[in-house]
Symmetry: C2
Subunit: 169 residues, 2 copies
């Protein structure tokens, strides 16, 4: 199975396990690898915590993190694949709860909003966004609060931590 192969490969290369995985596109230009005709089925993985890739558990990890805005030169057409993934993520953010893969179990609304602003690469009006998301019932507020240097922030969780397709922006 392709997805299982992708998971195996990901585990092997980065030590990552149990991540959201989504097939993106299959590339088959004969010229993409000058040596032989290779067909590649690309997948995108999402995870909330970059530290997971640096854990001691993954002794043989070769993964490294880059900002998508500052990728190093990639082999073959892999930059295309990355671009495709970002595009898919951006659009899926607008009609699903896919963000649950990119946040911890529990988070503040500021984190949630920050994620959207980061990925969509545009500022979002806090009040309007909050109203929309909360009336939509995407999140549930937890009784506890995050205590920190400033006013304590309400904590939230996703109502469902499985992919829900919902028109949301």
């Amino acid at each position: 199975m392709l997805e299982e192969a992708a998971r195996r490969e990901l585990l092997c290369a980065t030590g990552l396990n149990d991540v959201y995985l989504e097939q993106l596109f299959t590339f088959g230009e004969p010229s993409r690898d000058p040596r032989s005709h290779v067909v590649s089925v690309s997948y995108m993985a999402l995870l909330a915590d970059p530290k997971r890739i640096a854990k001691p558990a993954s002794k043989y990890a070769r993964g490294e993190w880059f900002e998508v805005s500052a990728l190093p030169p990639l082999a073959y057409d892999h930059a295309l694949m990355a671009e495709y993934g970002v595009k898919r993520l951006k659009s899926k953010l607008e009609y699903s709860n896919i963000a649950y893969n990119l946040l911890p179990e529990v988070f503040t609304f500021a984190q949630f909003e920050g994620l959207y602003e980061l990925i969509l690469a545009r500022p979002i009006d806090r009040r309007n966004f909050r109203r929309r998301i909360l009336t939509m019932g995407l999140l549930r507020e937890l009784p506890s609060k995050l205590r920190g240097a400033h006013r304590p922030a309400a904590l939230y969780s996703f109502n469902k931590r499985s992919l829900q397709i919902i028109e949301m922006l």
Copy 2:
């Protein structure tokens, strides 16, 4: 190239040429073909006129038409592929001008609306729909009219006959 292979195969099997083609999904379950492990990259083709598949030009055509609501039993996981294609078309209809592949150069608004109602499988309010589509500038009205048994209908064409992504419904 995968898309070229799909076009070749389509031409060979149905005599169809110059159609819109879009990659859908790549299936790789080992069990999908009991004899050997086959990976299939599925594509969807769109064409306006079903008669194109029955033309004399395609002597060796083996294509046959079915309503998606009444497909015969298909080999392997091909029913899944068809379902996937319908899903993709439905959603793309709502945020692009992909419909230009499913209508002749010139058509009436009733045809246009009928296409949407058919694919989305729900009735659409004529007045609201018309207003939205026309103010959106998706179509351009032609000077001539279609004369028939009843009141002549205005004729329209798509402004652009290439895929445009536009939030439209």
